[in-house]
Subunit: 343 residues, 2 copies
């Protein structure tokens, strides 16, 4: 069933000037072989008629779609939405559409998303992995078909494709070292699924910092959680049972840190005097909680922009597609009140 209203096509324009559709097509695409005069005539008339290029006909014919696919773990997170905002802006300027879908942290959904993206013939794909994804075979079709693929933030290095990350190990190391410098000796670490580089590396940074300071690693101080508000509350409750209380907490994201702080405060724990806390992400919330949360600043928007820029570059230079590069985005520890022990 076609839509009732007839679309204006290149044939309509061709007829008007007694030209061939090919000429019109070329003119519309600014092909060098067409004379400026005909180009102008055609463009003007096309505009007058309200001609809209039919992307599907073009996609079908050219085998490319001008569409970028993005798969993220979830849309409603500060980090993700701001990365997406960056991506969308760059994509829009470059004339690409963006199809976005979320895995809701589930491998199965991520797989089905990837399949949809593949069927939609996206010209390139940007991915941040779900927390529990183990098998990555759903990305193979893209590789096989030479469709540029980029991982950002939650990456996999199994494919020879570019990745965009911060140095999570270093950030974890610095956050923990900072706590140690404040005199902390029993530091709780709240982490996420160790399948994901971001959490595994922040954890390894934590361990390295302890080691450097000759503080024994204690398994019972580590919590693997979903890093949401609920996890923050539950971890706080576990912490409250500990004797002696830990004197520091390094949480792998701000939301969880903030929820944890709130619960601890409710139990009468003083932050940072009793327990110093450092989060991760520099979400806006970190500046509103009391005390203000020390955290790692993490340029989400820039990462999104960079991802799309790279992807577009890859799409343009078909040759470099399989280049395995790693873009390291700068991050930094921001020290606020929540981690400064009064001497």
């Amino acid at each position: 069933m076609k839509s009732k209203k007839k679309e204006v096509t290149i044939y309509d324009i061709a007829r008007q000037f007694n030209l061939s559709p090919s000429t019109v097509s070329r003119a519309l695409n600014n092909h060098p072989a067409i004379s400026d005069k005909t180009k102008k005539r055609i463009l003007a008339y096309a505009k007058k008629l309200g001609y809209q290029a039919n992307k599907f006909a073009s996609a079908l014919s050219k085998g490319q779609t001008n569409t970028i696919g993005v798969i993220v773990q979830k849309l409603d997170s500060q980090f993700i939405s701001s990365a997406l905002a960056g991506m969308e802006q760059v994509a829009q300027v470059a004339g690409f559409n963006m199809i976005i879908s979320q895995s809701l942290e589930m491998e199965a959904k991520e797989k089905s998303n990837a399949e949809t993206m593949f069927n939609s013939r996206v010209d390139g794909l940007i991915v941040s992995l779900a927390s529990d994804t183990v098998d990555l075979s759903h990305f193979k079709p893209f590789i096989a078909k030479n469709i540029p693929l980029i991982f950002f933030d939650r990456i996999s290095e199994d494919f020879s494709c570019p990745v965009i990350v911060i140095d999570n190990h270093k950030a974890g190391y610095e956050a923990t070292s900072h706590l140690i410098n404040q005199g902390c000796k029993r530091i709780v670490h709240i982490s996420g699924n160790q399948l994901r580089n971001v959490y595994a590396e922040r954890f390894s940074g934590y361990k390295k910092a302890l080691k450097k300071a000759s503080i024994a690693f204690k398994k019972e101080l580590i919590f693997f959680t979903r890093l949401d508000i609920q996890a923050g509350i539950e971890t706080a409750e576990e912490v409250l049972k500990m004797k002696p209380l830990p004197d520091g907490i390094f949480a792998a994201n701000d939301l969880c840190a903030v929820a944890c702080i709130q619960r601890l405060k409710k139990a009468g724990v003083r932050i940072p005097e009793d327990i110093a806390v450092v989060g991760f992400n520099n979400d806006p919330i970190s500046e509103f909680i009391e005390p203000n949360l020390s955290t790692v600043n993490y340029p989400s928007r820039l990462m999104g922009e960079t991802a799309v820029k790279m992807l577009i570059e890859l799409m343009r230079s078909k040759t470099a597609v399989n280049k395995k590069s790693k873009i390291l985005i700068h991050s930094e520890l921001i020290v606020r009140e929540s981690s400064i022990k009064k001497k």
Copy 2:
């Protein structure tokens, strides 16, 4: 230029079984006229070959794209990202792709987004308006072409299309009345661009509440702002200059309210004793600020889900396209510490 790798098409499958492409097409689309046996054979073989339906060929042929367009003011807001999460989920289940773009609160960009969506032949469009959009002509092509259009949250009633909103007037009235009941007599209202229903109606609710309580409306207590963190801080600074200090603040969103509270506290103002505050949206942050922020709960995710459900319904029943309906989603005042004056 086609991609090097030959795609598997329905012709390949047809050849295998000595069937016609149409039969294969029908089988793949689960057409009732095809026998179960052939369906099974075809499905199995298609799967084996790794067949991927070509959406562009299908779109070109059918004149529809299975794609929903969404234009929002910005991606990195709690409300929007959570509405999008809801939309995406419903869309995905129903087999639709979602193209998302942001206007960044600019009419010009909204226009260009709409044009892109139109060119992309989206089957339906969901919009939340930019704050400064006056002219709405960029949506006319959709109406003209009978493409379902839905506004949510920041709506326009200029078109005969469905809209999804909460009762902003009522919410504003309740928030303000609550402050009045707490004994407030000089209530500041921080609002946004009055072009947008959400802000204009919350404001009108505010005025109505004053009137009902026989409190004179004072222009100098009203601030029209961008409702971001900066606006919260600046408004707080204006408030601090007032003599006497107001005794209540009703802000049209939480982020702004929270920033305002923080600035006021820094100046020694006690919340709620000196100034009681109510926000709007029930962002997570409202439960982390101290004192916890009273606010209006606003089911963003549900609104997103509803929008897509309605849109899909409209797309299915071509007839009802122009039906002008208004879905009112329930909202409610949540009273927390920030607005309870000790008696």
